[in-house]
Symmetry: C2
Subunit: 359 residues, 2 copies
């Protein structure tokens, strides 16, 4: 008889309207689960021990009652929350993985997960962590961020969608977050002038001192966002990396330069507003006057670029060119609070949760 | 001493807020002007007799007090209104033109204009009208429309910005207008399924019977635009050619398909609203969920494509493949009324004004 273990799980209790609270989620003690595949799972399944869970803004829309088709299915009340994470393979009927492998991709908010096809398509083997002993390794947790979905998101959104040219001006909102901190640094590496916005004095300092933003401002202290942008970009913005939406987007539209590009990555300011209460965007006319391109994108559409991105970014991580700040919560029991904190800007840097120590 | 003629002029009396009225413009009797260049004009100037004037929606933003930089300068109260037109060259110090030539481009709302550099860059010689005698000609007025700025606008917006593929679904708003009627027919030629919206029963009929739209609806009779679009596009919209903005754009965003494209050509529903009163667009989230590209454009950026467009479109005009409907007002004195009518949807097809008969 195979060994078993207790599997705690975080489930969504009910659909959320407005801001999520800890009441919307529940840590279920859970029962015993086998530590080997039983053979009843679909072919290609992978049993993992979860090590790190990633808290990402896109998870909020999945907590709402599904009103219309979306690129990502809503969570199901009573079921375990899913998201990106890093895990150790315990057993696998997917030939790509063997017991002991470290993987990153979509898993469950629980101690152990059986990841089944087609979700296993999102799992990828981690090879560069093992090189740590030789001085070339990177923290395993980075696969929830700079070496995971947020990293490829920043790379695709900035380099592929925005096609930056040296000397252009770049504005990044939510600039100290998982994606924003990377976009700022990628922009600097590309020879752009980059300014970021964030929601606290501490974060604004971080942008300038740690991430190399040329300038930054606290949007909560700016009564007139359009004026703040005009101050930071007297000649206008060539590239806007959109993480927040709402009134910031409306202010940015007024400050874009001719032939500017807007990569629409996220709209975190809007995710907790009810339908019909979303902020009004009124400056659509700027799209014509400035001949702007505004393009939404999601990372899964660009997975094929991951090897290119990884090869590009790893040397910059190893030689310290890129800084990367994480906000690590401890323990599965603290995962709901960590996720909720994202929507109040409580995280400083990439929010993740360490749920087991198995490196 | 050179011959002279009386030059009537339409001037903007004052900046407009809200809908323009005839009170905002004035037909000034004007004085005698010489029918040859006097030598006092800048080198490269062209003296023309205006024949046709074009009424285009983009002229409305130019009638507002300029609040911010735009791609097109505001009109100046007390000065003659300018716009696209067709004219006969009377005299020229631009080596591209000789007396007797027919030209199209930016001219004045007056009987005679001296077009000066750099505006002369917008003037182009008309060669295909002369072939009329041989059965291959096209009406001169077409150079205010299908063979002029609106034609190239439709071509660039649809073929270059939207990159249509056979079998895709296309929605066109203001579909019986100068640009819309062409986009609909270009879409049909490209093997797309195309639906248009317009503001009267008569126009809707025209879309289906004359311009080959597969379906059409009267937006004024649809209490729920999103539902109307869902009815016409049960599987969603691949391409939206945006001429109106406002609530229509918000409804379209909900009905776009994954990887759809929106060419933002005009926002006529918004041009007469005051700052701060523009319609709210709230469904920006669809850009991410559907990975949409939304791109503003103006025809002058794409002038280099005119020869390619002209070569492509002329055979379709000559063999009757393309229908083209004009709404022709008579006389310079009726030009203000014709322009104002655009913003109330009074025109059926391309609105222009014939101010002299000199073909």
């Amino acid at each position: 008889m195979a060994a078993t273990a207790t599997n705690r799980r975080v489930v969504l209790k009910e659909y959320v309207e407005g801001y999520p609270t800890e009441e919307h989620m529940e840590l279920v003690p859970g029962g015993e689960v086998p530590l080997r595949l039983t053979g009843d799972e679909p072919a290609g399944s992978v049993l993992v021990r979860n090590l790190y869970l990633s808290c990402d803004p896109y998870m909020r829309p999945k907590m709402s009652r599904p009103l219309r088709e979306s690129y990502t299915a809503a969570f199901v009340p009573g079921s375990v929350i899913t998201g990106y994470g890093v895990a150790r393979v315990l057993d696998s009927s997917d030939p790509r993985f063997a017991p002991g492998d470290l993987v990153w991709g979509i898993t469950g908010w629980e101690d152990y997960s059986v990841v089944k096809p087609p979700v296993t398509a999102f799992l990828a083997k981690i090879s560069h962590h093992d090189a740590a002993a030789a001085g070339g390794g990177v923290p395993l947790s980075y696969y929830t961020g700079i070496l995971g979905m947020p990293g490829l998101t920043a790379y695709v959104g900035f380099h592929e969608i925005c096609a930056p040219k040296k000397g252009e001006t770049v504005f990044v909102s939510a600039a100290s977050g998982a994606v924003g901190q990377l976009v700022g640094q990628f922009a600097r590496l590309a020879g752009c002038h980059v300014v970021g916005s964030a929601g606290s004095k501490e974060k604004v300092e971080l942008l300038k001192s740690k991430f190399g933003f040329h300038d930054a401002f606290n949007y909560k202290e700016e009564p007139d966002l359009a004026a703040a942008l005009k101050r930071c970009f007297p000649d206008g913005i060539d590239i806007y990396f959109e993480n927040v939406g709402g009134v910031m987007l409306d202010a940015v539209l007024l400050n874009m330069r001719v032939h500017g590009r807007i990569a629409v990555c996220g709209l975190i300011s809007q995710y907790n507003l009810k339908e019909g209460e979303k902020d009004a965007v009124r400056n659509i006319g700027a799209l014509i006057a400035k001949r702007l391109r505004m393009q939404g994108f999601i990372e899964p559409d660009h997975k094929h670029l991951y090897p290119k991105y990884e090869a590009w970014v790893l040397p910059y991580i190893r030689d310290g060119t890129l800084a990367y700040v994480e906000d690590v919560a401890e323990g599965l029991e603290n995962a709901p609070k960590a996720l909720i904190g994202l929507f109040h800007g409580r995280n400083v840097g990439k929010q993740l949760v360490r749920i087991a120590d198995d490196e």
